[in-house]
């Protein structure tokens, strides 16, 4: 190591080599991904003995940028943190800011927030399940599920005007009311999704490809969960029934509570059933929210300046607790906004899930925690016996995993 830039690379986590010419290496960064991570796997033979995460590939300095934008402008920036749970980011932020101001948000707006939040949970879980099928070598499942997911995205577009970055919630309520006649269409689509999910539940419990690749894989327990503090389905699959919607209700969840889903298995197989059960419950909640939704205004005017103070807020995003800390000094821009996404809380647990497994299990186990899968486009493999290091592309690893279990 004589070159200064090489020394610098080694002094960093040493898990990736940035090129000074192009700031980001190809692999973890991809237009379809939102939170790329990079795991360095230490192997003994085929067995994974240690995992080191390295993140930050698309860290865009959003917390710093938020300090230079107005309270309203920040909504549109925060929902671009994640392309899947965009609404939950804007929801956590707006409800956190609203907690600092002495305004009561219209009840109708709270119900509308529940409807969109649950639709987002449904499409996020469907997206995950489809991808798990892809990584396990069951691409038909991927195609079916992503087709069904389109029904939800169409509904989101009909409500907000957009499929991904919905910009639906705003300070003081939501941007627009439910278009005429849409409630009936939503009910019909919920019925369709419920039927499809029942079919998928039977499928994942009987289809051999899925069972072999997921049952007993990535197992964690309550002891690990209490120590590493994972969130969302990863926590609930160990049998701990914690769901912010139920434990610390926000929006209208106090009046439309979830039935918290848990499992005692703590493996990827149980996450499949758990998330499918959550979809069924979300369909019920959407219908219930539409049924109970009160008439009245959907938005109140909100001041440009927010009273000085600090608010700690969190919501149950599809992947679990999404945390926002907001500090106002009384001006038109925030003094500080701290964001902790669900995946950051789950990475340490994912490293535990990988231990003891083979390289062939990596795609399914990592996807099991529901991260962005870009991490698998660039994995460094270290054989601790031979002190040898090489990299494997995501597609090559997927094929290796499928072949490995085909030969078994």
């Amino acid at each position: 190591m004589s070159n200064p830039s090489e020394k610098q690379a080694e002094a960093g986590a040493g898990l990736m080599q940035y090129s000074p010419e192009g700031m980001m290496p190809f692999g973890p960064v991809h237009p379809s991904l939102k939170e790329p991570e990079y795991f360095k796997l230490f192997l003994e033979g085929e067995k994974i003995v240690r995992v080191e995460p390295r993140i930050g590939y698309v860290h865009r300095g959003i917390e710093r940028a938020a300090q230079e934008r107005t309270w309203v402008k920040n909504i549109y920036m925060f929902e671009r943190i994640c392309g899947i749970c965009s609404f939950h980011h804007s929801l956590a932020y707006t409800e956190g800011v609203e907690a600092l101001a002495p305004f009561e948000i219209p009840r109708r707006a709270k119900y509308l927030r529940v409807v969109v939040a649950e639709l987002e949970r449904i499409h996020s879980h469907l997206l995950w399940l489809g991808l798990l099928g892809h990584w396990a070598g069951f691409d038909t499942l991927f195609m079916w599920i992503w087709k069904d997911r389109e029904h939800i995205l169409d509904l989101e577009e009909a409500i907000s005007g957009n499929r991904v970055n919905k910009s639906y919630t705003t300070l003081g309520g939501v941007r627009n009311d439910l278009p005429d006649g849409l409630a009936d269409k939503i009910r019909v689509e919920m019925g369709y999704i419920e039927k499809r999910v029942e079919y998928y539940k039977r499928l994942v419990q009987s289809e051999e490809t899925i069972i072999v690749r997921t049952k007993g894989r990535g197992r964690i327990n309550q002891e690990i969960a209490r120590k590493l503090c994972p969130v969302g389905p990863l926590l609930r699959c160990t049998g701990i029934p914690r769901d912010i919607r139920e434990e610390d209700p926000y929006a209208a969840y106090g009046e439309v509570p979830p039935q918290v889903q848990t499992s005692n298995e703590g493996d990827i197989g149980s996450l499949l059933t758990l998330r499918l059960n959550e979809i069924t419950d979300s369909c019920r909640m959407v219908k219930e929210a539409l049924e109970k939704m009160p008439a009245g205004p959907f938005r109140v005017n909100f001041p440009r300046s927010v009273p000085a103070g600090e608010a700690t807020y969190h919501v149950e995003a599809p992947r679990g607790e999404l945390f926002y800390f907001v500090k106002s000094a009384g001006g038109s821009v925030p003094e500080r906004v701290k964001i902790r996404t669900s995946t950051l809380a789950n990475i340490l647990t994912a490293t535990e899930m990988l231990k003891g497994h083979t390289l062939a299990d990596v795609p399914v186990v990592l996807t099991g925690m529901d991260p962005c899968f870009g991490c698998m486009d660039r994995i460094a493999v270290v054989d601790v016996d031979k002190s040898k290091e090489w990299t494997v592309g995501g597609e090559a690893l997927r094929k290796y995993g499928i072949e490995y279990y085909r030969r078994k």
Partner: protein, 152 residues
Amino acid sequence: MSSEELAPLAAKVGGSLAAGPKTTILSVPPDKVIEACKGVASLPGWYHLSTISGMDLGQDIAILYHFWQGKRFIQVRTQVPKSAPRLKSITGDLAAGVLYEAEIQDLLGVAFEGNPYLGKKLLLPDIYPPDAPPPLRKDSDPEKIKRMMGLE
């Protein structure tokens, strides 16, 4: 968890209590952070460390440890001077804090002694200039840092 219920722990670690919306704030001196966090995490049901935040206050950097249970948060809070931004890591007792401390180390330049990422990077690129201020400090200039990194 109300301020009254936390009073014995506050007295033990020489801290002071305050109440905010949904939050009870326990302010402690830097050398009592580990004891305070361990104390909170050992309260029945309070094992969940949501995250650790950092804030640039001008002369000092505030470090906030957010614990959650039910409808309340407990925030253990301390301050370290920018002239000596060092703090003992809680990760020996609370492993969940590893990445949260590493994030603050990167973005605000606070070294957490005992954290496995001490001296390594988690979020910042490896070519981030060692002589540039951490990017979330108020005295850092993003444009200047970009120039130092040769991005312009």
